[in-house]
């Protein structure tokens, strides 16, 4: 930095100081505080954020939002700009800049600054006219003693009950470190009814001890009250914990069910050991990818809805591959399970390699549409949208399949052929055609499953390999030839592994589940539900 520059900075700092001294009204935004945002020293940067927030006006909000989004740029001389799409604004005045200065460097921000910015912005937004913004701000406020004044001011103005509630909790949380024992006790009483893990963390801090294991909190009554409150919150959180695990289990179960439903038809009803079943899932997932690419190229406006279109595409493409497979290979091998197994395994290798040739060996990116990103948060419960949608989708597929098998003529034929092929043929059921269509249906449903899988996992040529074992496990456990068995087995396996996982870890859970299934099949080879009747043994 040359002397001239240094002088300029000194003058700017002095001016800034003068302005600050002149009173808060004049201190809208000062260049020195802005320049300090780019300082090497973290503490100086944090001070600068506070100084800017103290202005409390539109300009301050603009700068802080830009800082949060990583849009602030600084020249070597310390002049700060906001880079927006296609234009550059002077951070100080908000005016657009015509020529971009050289050597613009990004002002980066770390987590510590990020939470500070969030805190001070919440302190500003809490007085917004928009109740939605106020609620968000109330939730984001950092519970610290210095926020008390702001919170009191906000509470005095607030009329919406929901926001008042959040503010009161924040106010109580801010008082946990207050010097007044009565205030601390009152705060703990207010917080004992919470369901928020963060509040629990704050209360736990009161119970901490120092290096000599002396309690940091001087008052025994406060410690006791805090411990009681923590226990009360823990009890409530246990319910959420249970609900969370159940949800995870049902979610995994729904995925297993989707993957296994198609197999329940091809293996369960037709008796074909289809080792290429996993590849039908993969084809479905790649169909979703192809649809997404098509939408990206042709209809970028409707990109969010590509998935709706991908569902039938996935079904039809997987079903078509299935029908071709049945007509060309599998129908020659009916009644020869070993040959079917080997042939379909070979087909699965061919399919994997063809996809590798077509789309490359690397995983492809299938994005969640905006409406499937994020999730619902109910206190301590987080339910991601993509999983909720998949559970719903699995139920819908199950219902449609059930209707098709029990309410349509085609379903009647399929059931007839399953129960007694010779008799069905005698009464005029075109068994070969039914076989072909049923195989196509099973493959198509696998395609639907692949489409759903593309939303939560990776899409690559090997996708099917990781599901084929699970699918067979579900069908065998549920009982061959039974849809209901598949449903129960899938949900049971999903919930069981999700309840085991937190205790013994993901790898041992996989092993244990497999061992349990083997033991179960030893005892009961027909699975959970078995078809009864003379036809079964035939």
């Amino acid at each position: 930095m040359n002397r001239c520059n240094r002088l300029a900075t000194v003058v700017a700092v002095c001016l800034g100081l003068l302005l600050t001294l002149a009173g808060p009204a004049a201190a809208a935004l000062d260049a020195a505080a802005l320049a300090k945002l780019a300082s090497e020293d973290a503490n100086e940067r944090m001070e600068a954020i506070d100084a800017i927030a103290a202005g409390g006006d539109e300009a301050a909000m603009r700068v802080l939002t830009a800082l949060q989004d990583g849009l602030l740029r600084v020249t070597p001389k310390g002049q700060v700009f906001i880079k927006q799409r296609g234009s550059l604004l002077d951070a100080l005045t908000g005016a657009a800049v015509e020529t971009e200065p050289e050597d613009l460097a990004k002002i980066s921000i770390n987590n510590r600054m990020r939470s500070q910015v969030e805190g001070v912005m919440a302190g500003l937004r809490i007085f917004s006219t928009d109740p939605k913004q106020r609620l968000e701000a109330a939730r984001a406020i950092e519970p610290e003693e210095k926020m008390l004044a702001t919170l009191d001011k906000a509470l005095a103005r607030e009329s919406v009950a929901e926001i008042r509630d959040v503010l009161e909790v924040a106010r109580a949380a801010s008082q946990l470190r207050s010097g007044d024992t009565g205030a601390r006790l009152a705060a703990i009483t207010r917080l004992a009814g919470s369901r928020d893990p963060k509040i629990k963390t704050l209360l736990l801090a009161l119970l901490e001890t120092d290096a000599q294991s002396r309690p940091l909190e001087p008052d025994a009554r406060v410690r006791e009250a805090a411990a009681d409150a923590v226990r009360a919150i823990d009890r409530r959180l246990m319910v959420y914990d249970f609900a969370q695990r159940l949800f995870a289990g049902v979610s995994l179960g729904s995925i297993l069910m989707l993957a296994a439903l198609g197999l329940a038809i091809t293996y369960g009803l037709l008796g074909v050991i289809n080792m290429a079943h996993g590849e039908m899932l993969m084809i479905g997932a790649y169909a979703a990818y192809a649809t997404q690419s098509l939408f990206r190229a042709r209809f970028p406006g409707a990109l969010d809805w590509y998935l709706v279109c991908a569902v039938p595409v996935a079904f039809l493409s997987a079903a078509a591959v299935g029908v071709v497979l049945e007509r060309t290979v599998i129908r020659w091998l009916y009644g020869r399970p070993l040959e079917t197994l080997l042939a379909t395994w070979g087909i699965s290798l061919v399919l994997i390699q063809s996809v590798r040739q077509l789309f490359g060996a690397q995983n492809v990116e299938v994005a969640n549409p905006a409406w499937m990103s994020g999730g619902i948060e109910l206190a301590a419960l987080a339910l991601p949208w993509n999983r909720i949608v998949i559970i719903g989708f699995a139920l819908a597929v199950l219902l449609l399949m059930w209707l098709m098998l029990t309410r349509t003529r085609f379903g009647l034929f399929v059931r007839g052929v399953t129960q007694n092929r010779a008799m069905a043929a005698c009464v005029g059921v075109p068994t070969a055609r039914v076989d072909m269509l049923a195989f196509g249906l099973g493959s198509g449903i696998a395609g639907l499953a692949g489409c759903a899988l593309s939303q939560i996992g990776n899409v690559g040529p090997d996708l099917g390999q990781s599901y084929i074992i699970d699918s067979f496990m579900v069908v065998v456990l549920g009982g061959v030839g039974q849809l209901a068995g598949t449903v129960y087995a899938a949900l049971g396996l999903g919930v069981a592994s999700k309840f085991l996982e937190p205790y013994i870890g993901a790898v041992p859970t996989k092993i244990l589940i497999l061992v349990l299934i083997i033991a179960f099949i030893q005892k009961r080879p027909q699975g959970l539900f078995a078809l009864r009747g003379r036809s079964v043994e035939a």
């Binding site: 980066s108 893990p197 963390t201 736990l204 994020g374 991601p384 990776n458």
Partner: protein, 417 residues
Amino acid sequence: MNRKQFLGTLIGAGLSAAGLLSMPAVAADTIKVGILHSLSGTMAISETALKNTALMTIEEINAKGGVLGRKLEAVVVDPASNWPLFAEKARQLITQDKVSVVFGCWTSVSRKSVLPVFEELNGLLFYPVQYEGEELSQNVFYTGAAPNQQAIPAVEYLMSKDGGGAKRFVLLGTDYVYPRTTNKILRAFLKSKGVAEADIMEDYTPFGHSDYQTIIAKIKKFAGEGKKTAVISTINGDSNVPFYKELGNQGLKATDVPVVAFSVGEEELRGVDTKPLVGHLAAWNYFMSVKNGENTKFIKAYSEWAKKNNVPNLDTVVTNDPMEATYVGIYMWKQAVEKAKSTDVDKVRKAMSGQTFKAPSGFVLKMDETNHHLHKPVMIGEVQADGQFDVVWKTKGPIRAQPWSPFIPGNEGKQKL
């Protein structure tokens, strides 16, 4: 050419065509270089880019006249994320293709699998990825980071005021040798810093794991037990995509529980929407966002190469740390060959010690005289909304590697070859 000779050539050509599909007709005056990276399977997400970088660097060297006046010829094989296949392919590269050097491997389990082959046949391997240390071989040059050049500084940063002052740690990894050993070192390190046993949680998932629901719920619960918590992730390969997706969907924010990853770079985040992940961290020795002349050149060269070779998703190509380490490794090998005036493994090994190279990280890296590791700078970056990393902390200069971690008992005095 008489008939006998012609027949001989024909048979020879037929044999080599049958044996090695990847090898074109051999010109006598090239130096063969093996590239051993998974182009399929769970590790393809990370390793394909390294193969591309190696090919680009070789092309770059050839365009400037090659090495010792001879052109380099790349022999690319695909071990398909299958660890025993790595050893098989390595043997094939050394004995059949007679390559002078191999650039390859990502996971430590693959490196452990090829190590006996390289030692038996006296081959030369350049390994470009950060790893757990606890190994030193005559036949390997490690151009990635040792634990003290990545893991330890990252944890120190998390414990510092700027990193959030974490007091509780979740050690989360894929179940194999690298995460297990790294976590063993970190556990010992954390204990030396006074972190209690109860404040450390360790968890592992299999390769290719895709359901991180319960693990994230468990992390949330652990973080709720009081004190600032941070997650140290050694998850490898494509499992990272579902892990980060779930992290975003379940709303675990970096300001609450930061996740620092050792095997996640720009390449792994390409398939992920990073907006909910802003502020999560990665520790490396290079980031694409680093600004200097070497890096600009490197990025430009790679994106041009990608365009020319029509790499999939080429509009979003990125560079990352192991790619830089591959690039540095190939150039250092070239310098060593030129110094030794030979591609003989023993001579090149001797010439490698003390080699320096001006790397895209903006520092002059030196190959240590005694321990086959590079002196590297350490950088910590935070994920940005555009999938890039912002460097929030870095060392002043390159630091020397300690392949034998002082935090594992019995390692004293094991620092040299």
